[in-house]
């Protein structure tokens, strides 16, 4: 009896500890983000107040207004940055997915010599730090006139995303039994039709999650963009963040407003596919 009781006590204790632990962890995860959102609505004086103002008493849209105002104080061509980011990220994601599908399919469906070596070689290209790559890439792009162009950034991001995309998509195609495509061929499909009508739809959700990763990477990338873009013609939002800094000061409120603008599309997209994301990663990585 006594041992039964102590067991119950212990289980209760564990439950409480579990709850507190989870609460703390989630707070740490969420507070920095929420703090950004909050600050984007607060006047700079209040953000910088000493002693701190804990309970906001003046929430307004001033930073957003200034940001979209484009001229005057704090005016940053945000919409242009947003458009650049969107064009570059979406295009590079689509291309990376197409190339990744071709490559992933090759790894998943064909046997060939040196497969493991080629695979690792492709992966390793992703491991090259952006800053180490940006120097020579800068020189080359300057020669061929790709500096400060959408094309230049798109090509760069496609290359950056292709290895990981191949890796994930390879995993998804392995999950699709070979027999499905064979059955489709017997049902009268060509190889091409069998791929698009059977294998692709079955692996679709996984491919979508690979797409999210590619998009987030392009959307958020800074090291390369900061070197390869120069002006409003191609600057992306992460680079645009620096417009809010000057030698000694930092327009924190304005920066938060742009940050919110950056996070929203990422948030929406991730929300849409979050169900597939975990499944995608499991299949893609492990079972692949």
């Amino acid at each position: 009896m006594a041992s039964n009781q102590s067991h119950r006590m212990r289980r209760r204790g564990l439950k409480i500890a579990h709850f507190i632990g989870l609460f703390l962890a989630m707070s740490v995860i969420c507070i920095p983000g929420l703090w950004i959102v909050l600050n984007s609505f607060r006047p700079t004086v209040e953000i910088m107040a000493k002693p701190p103002v804990w309970i906001p008493n003046d929430l307004n849209l001033d930073h957003y207004r200034a940001m979209f105002g484009a001229v005057g104080e704090g005016g940053v061509p945000v919409l242009t940055y947003f458009r650049n980011s969107l064009i570059i990220s979406v295009t590079s994601t689509v291309i990376a997915i197409l190339i990744g599908m071709a490559g992933g399919y090759a790894f998943a469906r064909y046997r060939f010599k040196g497969k493991a070596a080629i695979f690792i070689a492709l992966m390793v290209t992703r491991a090259v730090p952006g800053v180490a790559l940006s120097l020579p890439l800068f020189i080359i792009y300057a020669r061929v006139g790709l500096i400060d162009t959408h094309i230049g950034m798109i090509v760069t991001y496609v290359a950056m995303n292709v290895p990981f995309t191949i890796w994930l998509i390879d995993g998804f195609f392995r999950q699709v039994p070979r027999e499905l495509a064979e059955a489709a061929e017997i049902d009268g499909c060509t190889r091409w039709q069998a791929f698009w009508r059977v294998e692709f739809p079955v692996a679709r959700s996984g491919i979508a999650s690979a797409g999210i990763f590619a998009f987030l990477t392009s959307w958020n990338e800074y090291a390369l963009a900061s070197q390869l873009t120069r002006s409003v013609t191609s600057k992306t939002m992460p680079v645009g963040l620096l417009d809010f800094t000057s030698e000694f000061t930092l327009n924190w409120g304005g920066m938060c407003a742009l940050a919110v603008l950056m996070i929203i599309p990422a948030l929406v997209l991730t929300f849409l596919v979050q169900k597939h994301l975990i499944a995608g990663l499991t299949f893609g990585g492990v079972k692949g």
């Binding site: 579990h18 632990g21 989870l22 995860i29 969420c30 920095p32 983000g33 703090w35 953000i47 107040a49 000493k50 002693p51 701190p52 804990w54 190339i99 071709a102 490559g103 090759a106 469906r109 064909y110 992966m123 390793v124 290209t125 992703r126 491991a127 090259v128 730090p129 952006g130 800053v131 180490a132 790559l133 120097l135 020579p136 890439l137 020189i139 080359i140 090509v155 496609v158 290359a159 292709v162 290895p163 800074y222 090291a223 939002m237 963040l241 930092l250 924190w252 940050a259 950056m262 996070i263 990422a266 929300f271 979050q274 994301l277 975990i278 990663l281 499991t282 990585g285 492990v286 692949g288």
Partner: protein, 298 residues
């Protein structure tokens, strides 16, 4: 699918190979070449000024370089391990929740959506000694009256950087480990229970070995992305103050762009590339081995 006279697998891989050759391999060859010259951004002609292994010798004897190198390895080791442990803990906690798990999972992915550069600014501000969230909180709670110099003191600055790095990347581990927990068959756990294992023992001998491949994937993904830390560090401290948080990447960036010594920067870049490749290959090996152990074909 007849695609020219290539074998089909090669035709399918061609776009990826060509692209990566153009955007990664060619620049790497160029940077390898330029690391043997005295190339300066400001004087394009110096690209043809062959100076042999001078840059490498210089790097080998450069105390700043080796300090940055050591600090980078240390940062990666500490950060990756902490992320793994914290991610494991987080995943275990989330997996034990009975209601609202979807919401928690979504919240868990929150930091992945943040651009590293944004994380850098965010944490620079959070750790600001004057008006930062951390000091404000500590002071309001009466835990300290002084302004703690989070980004100035060498140890505290490293701590702050690691905190930021962990904040962004723990969720990658947590999500993958959670995926592993979901995929885990229940019978071995039940068998362990019947065999008299304590919860801790079943975790140690049943759950953890099963999770290993997932952990290695996370490690592999992270090692592909280690240089994300560059953005964070560049914004938070940019290696400073007085090189106290200098990492390979900040050192390279400054040498190349600010001091315009491209040749030398590329020589150091090469060493950092080798470091990254080492980490990647290492974890991919581990991953393959762990998969084989669980009977999953590569």
């Amino acid at each position: 699918m007849k695609l020219g006279k290539f074998p089909p697998w090669l035709a399918l891989l061609m776009p990826a190979i060509v692209l990566l050759a153009a955007v990664v391999l060619v620049p790497l060859v160029l940077s390898f070449y330029s690391s043997f010259t005295s190339y300066k951004l400001t004087k394009p002609d110096t690209l043809y000024n062959w100076i042999g292994t001078f840059n490498y010798q210089k790097a080998a004897g450069d105390i700043y370089f080796w300090t940055a190198f050591g600090r980078t390895v240390l940062l990666l080791t500490v950060a990756l391990n902490l992320e793994m442990v914290l991610g494991l803990g987080l995943a275990l906690m989330v997996s034990k929740v009975t209601r609202g798990q979807r919401l928690l999972r979504t919240m868990m992915m929150f930091p992945m959506m943040f651009s590293p550069i944004l994380v850098g600014f965010q944490f620079k501000f959070i750790f600001n000694d004057n008006v930062g969230l951390v000091n404000n909180t500590l002071q309001s709670l009466g835990l300290t009256t002084t302004a703690i110099p989070w980004l100035v003191d060498a140890h505290l600055a490293m701590f702050s950087i690691i905190s930021a790095e962990i904040w962004t990347s723990t969720s990658v581990f947590a999500i993958l480990i959670l995926a592993g927990l979901y995929a885990m068959p229940q019978d071995p756990l039940e068998a362990a229970k019947v065999d008299g294992c304590t919860p801790l023992q079943s975790f140690r001998f049943v759950t953890l070995p099963f999770l290993m491949p997932f952990i290695y994937i996370a490690m592999a993904i992270r090692s592909l992305d280690v240089a994300r830390a560059y953005d964070i560090v560049q914004i938070m401290t940019n290696g400073g103050p007085a090189r106290r948080t200098e990492l390979l990447w900040t050192l390279i960036g400054r040498t190349g762009y600010v001091d315009a010594k491209m040749g030398y920067a590329n020589a150091m870049g090469y060493i950092s590339i080798l470091l990254a490749i080492f980490f990647t290959v290492y974890f991919f090996r581990k991953l393959t081995a762990a998969r084989a152990e669980l009977g999953m074909a590569l």
